[in-house]
Symmetry: C5
Subunit: 99 residues, 5 copies
C-alpha cells in the first residue's frame, strides 16, 4: 500500500453504471515524514475518509476486495485512515549516517 | 485511476477476435491543473467519451470490469468522464508554502 | 495498452511446458510519432504480427485473455496490429503552444 | 519479489472491516548490498517479521495468496524473512569490469 | 516478460508455509545487448535455471500460472531459459540513424 493524503474530489456524472454513487477522491502520495511527493492517484473510498486525512491506498485487483468496490472498474481504494506512523529510531540513525 | 484527456484514436483491422467492434482511444495523462504529462496510454472506452474530453482511466484487471471489456485482452478502460476537480484550498496553500 | 514495434524474437527451447509452441516477440515501445523509446518488452503474439509491424500490447492478467495465452505464465500479449493513429489536430496545436 | 527491511509500523483504527487485526509494516526497499533505496511500501506481514529484519515482499494479487491476506484489500505482503543472499562471484567480477 | 540473468539466490528458512521447498533466484534485468541494467527482481524458478543463465521472467498474477507457483504468494517466475535473441538488422540500422 502507499501512504497518501486526501486533497480533493473528482466530479463525474457520466460514468460506468456500476459506479453510480461512487465518490472519487484524489490522493497525493506522501513520504514517511508526511511531505508530499509529486504523485497523485484517483481512488474510491471504503472507510469514510475526508479531505486532509492521511490514508493508505491499495491498488490493482486488491482495490476490488471491499464491499463497495467489488466487481467494479476501480484500481485504487482507500482501505485505512492512518493514526500515526512509528518509525524505528535505529533506522532513523542509520539513515542519518548514510546520508 | 489516472486523470487524462482523449487525444486521438488507434485504427486496427487485424486484432484479437474478441476485440472486433472495440474502439481504441489514446489518452494523455494530465496533471491536476490539466497540463499534459508525457505519458500516454491506449484505452477502450466504456462511457462514450470523445476526443478532447477529460476522463478517468482504470488499469490492470480492473479494466475488464465493464460490460464491454469483460474477458477481453484490454488493460486500460475509460470508466468516467470528468466534470470538474475540486482541490482543497488548504492543500493548495500548503503546496505554495512548500514550494 | 502500449504502442510498440516488433523488432525481433527470443529463441528458447527450455521453457514452462505450457509454453511449448509459443513464439516470443520483442517489442520496442514507441512514442505517438513512432519514434522509439528505450523500453522493450517480450511478448507472445495472438494476431500474427511480424517483425517491423506496429502493434498494441496488453499487459498483466489481461495478457492471458486470448485463446493462445489463457492460463499461461505470460504477462504481455500483442492483441492488435496498428493501421494508423489519428491524433486530434487541436491537441497537436495545444501541444505546440505549451512547449 | 523485492528485497526490503522492516523499518516501522502504521497505526490505523479506522480501516476496512476485513482488516481488523491486521498489522501494517513499513518496508524500505534495499539494494543487493543491503543499502537502502528511496522506495518504501506498506505491507501486511504473514511470517512474523519484526522491525530491522530483512524480508521479501510480494505485490499485486499475489499478496493475497496467504492465509491472513486472502480476499482482503492488501496489495503487498511479507512472505519470507531473508537469512542471507548468495551473489555469484563471477557476476560481481563482471560488474566491476563493466563499471 | 523481461529479459534477465540469474545472478544469485536468496536463503530463507522462515517463509509462508506454501513456499517450503521453493528456491528464490535473484535476476538482474538485461538490455537487449545483454548489458546489465540496475534493476533486480527476486523470482521463483519453474524451468531449472542456474546462476549465469539468461532467462525470461513473467510478473504479477501471470507468475502464478505454473505448476510450482500456483496459488502461492509469488509475483515473479522464471518461465523460459533464453537460447538467443534475434534482432532485426533493419531495426538496428534505424536505431543507428536515430542516435
Amino acid at each position: 500500500m502507499v501512504l497518501g493524503k486526501v486533497i480533493g474530489m473528482v466530479w463525474s456524472t457520466r460514468k460506468d453504471e456500476s459506479l453510480v454513487g461512487s465518490k472519487f477522491l484524489i490522493v497525493r502520495e506522501l513520504n514517511l515524514d508526511y511531505t508530499p511527493t509529486n504523485k497523485t492517484v484517483v481512488t474510491v473510498d471504503s472507510v469514510g475518509a475526508g479531505v486532509g486525512e492521511v490514508v493508505l491506498v491499495a491498488q490493482g485487483s486488491s482495490a476490488r476486495q471491499t464491499t463497495i468496490t467489488k466487481n467494479k472498474p476501480i484500481d485504487a481504494v482507500i482501505m485505512a485512515i492512518v493514526d500515526k506512523l512509528d518509525i524505528s529510531v535505529k533506522q532513523k540513525v542509520e539513515d542519518l549516517v548514510e546520508n
